[in-house]
């Protein structure tokens, strides 16, 4: 932590009267988006730009016997038709493995399939034309001969000897397996008064960003430089990967990320069709644009959460949980995704199950298998919803078994608020969590006892309402432990450069990115607070590898905690530099001066001494008037990465209040509460909105969202009419409360908040549905909770 110790002062800037920290100020630059003046990649046009359409396999698994493009020759507007083999001349294949996930294996994946397709939707040829419409027309006259192969679709039989091996060179369909055995699990179960088991089933679902994945790649042969305009969360990662596989130096690749129409982890990966677009630009020496249409999005955006998990819990009569055990199985499609891999979600499930609780006895197995379906990978709250639903589902089943209130059993088992620092059985280190304080706050917010009374009264009238509780932990602020140690060139550090311009305004370049979370706002709030400059005078530049420091970007709830700390440290250095210059000009000492309201003031009485605008004028235009030996440095750069803790864990608890119509099986969400602890709140409104948006994504998983595949590996609902997402009519109001336990690893004290909502929402809903159905003895451990599933559980169908 040399950077921190080199800083001359203990932080006081954040607590100053005009601080923006902790204030719900509006985000900068919203007007642009509201007036239709944003610039999303799908809006971009460049001179001589070609549009690419990918011809995609209609089969889940097939050999490509031949591709006949003759009919496209001479069609007006068609620029080129390129097969996988032809494209392989300019781009190399990749394998999505990381060394810290021991045993993880995958097969080489090409930008466009060569010889064989492994899922319905894999690209087999690229058609480039002067417009998307012309390219689509031409795609219809390309003939592909397929020899259909048997598709591996059911993860439960993927490892059976009779099942074909998708990649024969790998030997079997097992991509990854992890086993964990902590404490004395068998003895703990043997000593339990009750042991409960259940199979938890999760529907495969996807991100459905409103703007589909989009990229414009512009290879300028004269400059030997590729500019990639892409809606991505991690520009430097894209730069590294594109350069690596196109045979370029990273300095030959610039990645620019303008406005992004939703991301949620969907746009943090490297997709084959995006790689193909970069390669096509290089091959054809002109800008190429790819915008996925909605059907393509469903067939190629990563899916997530296709898990079946057997869980087991032991409990004593007094409610003490003795042990957890899980056996998780997940099917990830035919390839481990690049470069973050598709083993992370199962790995997270193993890490996180039982996480909020005291018991040391925990056994887990997770197996990750290949299938001929679309690829699965990290999506908002990676693994958390699975771990939380299994853990909290088991805790409720145990409570029911011993006749204890669900809140009471949690209170008897949650890690005590004064027990930190401590570690979980899976080795996660917790610096400071607040499960009990969060639960107490939740109880007060929802008036739990009154709600229980209301529930009882309504039951007598034949109205079945339920309360569901879900405690959770969340991984945030990841260090190099996430990807870097496994060999991925995905930076875990972020950098911020700040300078005072010639009119006393501030320009701030940061390596974190913005997809609407408020990265720009939190950066401006921190910088403005430390420098004593109003937010309107802080301009934040992000999303451009040519014009920002090197860094990871925005994912895994890391923007505020890591990028925010870098901004804070850079601003402190600039502040000191400004005060040094001011002291020289004013013949004062830096200790006697402060910056406030865009001006140098006396530290003691706040009297105005000099506007920053005037200071900048002197520094930039009349340095000759400065005392000898003074060389002002009105730009400062700092980087930050967590070193002490691999992850900054946060915690929280959610509650759902809903009604089940036992005749139709429909669930009506009535209210939802969240209490979470992300440490320092930089902008409470933005945190609340991250939580609400995250909750609704979890509610979608709980009630509606599922990619429905048939036994041949055909995705049968690849459109927004058949794949249901949460719309305004079905969503409840969500109350959000906070407990604040700052991390002491940073001065800022902020942890992440982007995934807490999604982590626990489905678990709370499932527990509430089971609570509502309690009188019928029905127990459901499958989501989405469709009317069909509920009516089946009730024995009505």
């Amino acid at each position: 932590m040399t950077i921190t110790s080199s800083n001359p002062e203990i932080l006081s800037e954040l607590d100053r009267p005009n601080s923006y920290i902790g204030k719900s100020v509006p985000r900068p630059n919203l007007e642009r988006l509201m007036q239709g003046r944003g610039l999303y990649v799908s809006d971009m046009e460049l001179p001589r730009m070609g549009h690419v359409v990918f011809l995609r396999s209609p089969h889940a698994h097939a050999r490509i016997a031949g591709i006949d493009v003759a009919a496209t020759k001479g069609v007006p507007g068609v620029i080129a038709v390129v097969t996988g083999k032809e494209l392989a001349a300019v781009i190399t294949p990749w394998v999505g493995v990381l060394s810290h996930l021991k045993g993880l294996k995958s097969a080489p994946q090409h930008a466009i399939a060569i010889d064989r397709v492994c899922w319905q939707g894999e690209a087999v040829a690229a058609i480039v034309a002067t417009s998307r419409a012309v390219a689509e027309d031409a795609a219809e006259i390309v003939r592909v001969d397929y020899e259909e192969l048997e598709a591996v679709t059911d993860m439960r039989t993927a490892l059976d000897p009779a099942t074909p091996v998708i990649h024969p060179a790998l030997g079997d369909n097992l991509a990854f397996e992890r086993n964990l055995d902590a404490g004395e699990v068998d003895a703990a179960f043997a000593s339990s008064d009750a042991v409960v088991e259940a199979d938890f089933i999760f529907g495969r679902h996807t991100g459905v960003t409103l703007e589909p994945r989009s990229v414009v790649a512009d290879w300028n042969a004269a400059e030997a430089r590729l500019t990639i305009y892409q809606g991505t969360q991690a520009p430097h990662m894209v730069q590294n990967i594109a350069a690596l596989h196109l045979g370029l130096e990273e300095s030959q690749v610039r990645v620019v990320c303008k406005d992004v129409g939703g991301s949620f982890g969907i746009k943090v990966h490297i997709y084959a069709d995006e790689m193909a677009t970069y390669a096509l630009s290089k091959l054809l020496r002109r800008p190429i644009k790819f915008v996925a249409d909605r059907v393509e999005s469903f067939n190629t955006d990563i899916h997530a959460r296709d898990h079946r998990c057997r869980g087991r819990i032991g409990v004593k009569r007094d409610g003490i949980i003795t042990a957890f055990e899980i056996d998780d199985l997940t099917g990830i499609g035919p390839y481990s995704m690049y470069p973050r891999t598709s083993a992370i979600e199962a790995n997270q499930v193993v890490n996180l199950v039982g996480g909020p609780y005291v018991t040391r006895n925990y056994r887990a197995r997770a197996r990750v298998v290949f299938q001929n379906k679309n690829v699965m990978c990290q999506y908002r709250a990676v693994g958390h919803p699975i771990a939380c639903s299994v853990t909290e589902g088991l805790v409720d089943l145990a409570a029911a078994k011993i006749g204890m209130d669900p809140v009471e059993i949690r209170r008897r088992n949650l890690i005590a608020d004064d027990a930190y620092p401590c570690a979980s059985p899976s080795g996660l280190r917790f610096e400071l969590l607040s499960h009990h304080a969060a639960m107490n706050k939740l109880m007060a917010m929802m008036d739990y006892d009154a709600l229980r009374a209301e529930q009882a009264t309504l039951r007598n009238k034949g109205i079945y309402r339920g309360i569901g509780i879900a405690s959770f932990i969340e991984v945030t602020n990841p260090s190099a432990a996430f990807y870097g140690v496994g060999g991925a060139k995905i930076s875990s550090q972020d950098g911020v450069a700040i300078r005072l311009d010639a009119q006393g305004s501030v320009i701030c370049q940061t390596s974190i990115t913005e997809q609407g979370q408020g990265s720009e706002s939190l950066t401006a709030q921190i910088v403005g607070s430390v420098l004593g400059v109003s937010m309107e005078r802080v301009r934040v530049i992000l999303g451009d590898t040519d014009n920002t420091p090197y860094g990871g970007g925005t994912w895994a709830s890391r923007g505020a905690g890591i990028g925010g700390e870098a901004a804070l440290q850079a601003a402190k250095i600039l502040r000191k530099n400004i005060l040094d210059v001011a002291a020289a000009i004013l013949q004062s000492s830096p200790n006697e001066l402060d910056i406030s309201g865009n001006a140098i003031v006396n530290a003691g009485d706040g009297v105005l001494r000099m506007e920053l605008r005037e200071l900048a004028r002197i520094v930039y235009f009349r340095p000759d008037t400065l005392p000898p030996g003074i060389q002002p440095e009105l730009m400062a750069t700092r980087h930050f990465v967590p070193r002490e803790y691999p992850f900054a864990f946060t915690n929280g608890v959610q509650a759902s209040w809903l009604e089940v119509d036992t005749d139709t099986g429909f669930v009506k969400l009535l209210r939802h509460w969240v209490v979470e602890d992300c440490g320092t709140l930089i902008n409470p409104q933005l945190v609340d909105e991250q939580i609400r948006g995250g909750v609704v994504q979890g509610l979608g998983a709980a009630l509606f969202e599922k990619c429905v595949y048939d036994e041949r590996g055909q995705l049968t609902n690849a459109n927004m009419a058949d794949y249901l997402v949460p719309m305004s009519g079905e969503m409840p109001d969500i109350d959000v409360g906070h407990v604040v336990s700052p991390t002491s690893e940073t001065e800022l004290g902020a942890k992440g908040a982007g995934e807490a909502g999604t982590a626990g929402a489905a678990a709370a809903v499932a527990n509430a549905a089971n609570d509502a159905l309690g009188p019928f003895g029905a127990v459901i451990t499958e989501i989405p909770l469709t009317p069909q599933i509920i009516l089946k559980a009730l024995g009505r169908i």
Binding site: L33, M34, G36, T209, L210, G262, E689, R692, M720, S728
Partner: protein, 161 residues
């Protein structure tokens, strides 16, 4: 039916004469020929509401309407409503309440919200949710949007009282 057809219409108060293919939908016409990129394309089949515009005063999904059908029509997009100031108060309420994150749904949301407020001066939350139920937002969870529209209705109500 593959030859371009001439159309003449008014877009955001300006007369537009254009040659369009019969198959061209209004969203693509606005975005690609007129560079009015504030109208967004999300689902391309009338479910998500991102492409909502006004044709002759009524909101429509511009992905479900052909450009040739707008011959002789008055079309208004988010750019027009913003420049005229018609939705300035709604936009201010969205800003204060952080009723947008990525902003991709926002032009369509504003179109739908303004449509509701023109029909109904004081809608309750359920009515607002119902009116927006064809506009998909993945970021916000909708509550902030409902709040912003409710606030705008209240402020407008006070203004005319």
């Amino acid at each position: 039916m593959t030859a371009p057809m001439p159309i003449s219409l008014e877009v955001n108060g300006e007369r537009v004469d254009a040659q369009v293919l019969p198959r061209l939908n209004l969203a693509d016409f606005l975005r690609e020929q007129l560079q009015l990129t504030g109208t967004h394309v999300g689902c391309e089949h009338g479910v998500c509401g991102a492409c909502t515009v006004r044709v002759n005063g009524e909101i429509v999904r511009s992905c479900l309407m052909l450009a040739v059908q707008t011959h002789g029509a008055f079309v208004q997009t988010i750019e027009g409503l913003s420049d005229s100031g018609e939705v300035a108060d709604l936009q201010a309420a969205f800003r204060e309440r952080n009723a947008l994150q990525c902003g991709f749904c926002t032009p369509g949301m504003l179109m739908a919200a303004q449509d509701l407020l023109k029909q109904q001066a004081a809608p309750d939350r359920e009515q607002i949710r119902e009116h927006l139920s064809g506009n998909y937002c993945r970021c916000t969870g909708y509550q902030a949007i409902i709040d912003a529209i409710e606030t705008t209705a209240r402020v407008r109500g006070r203004g005319t009282a």
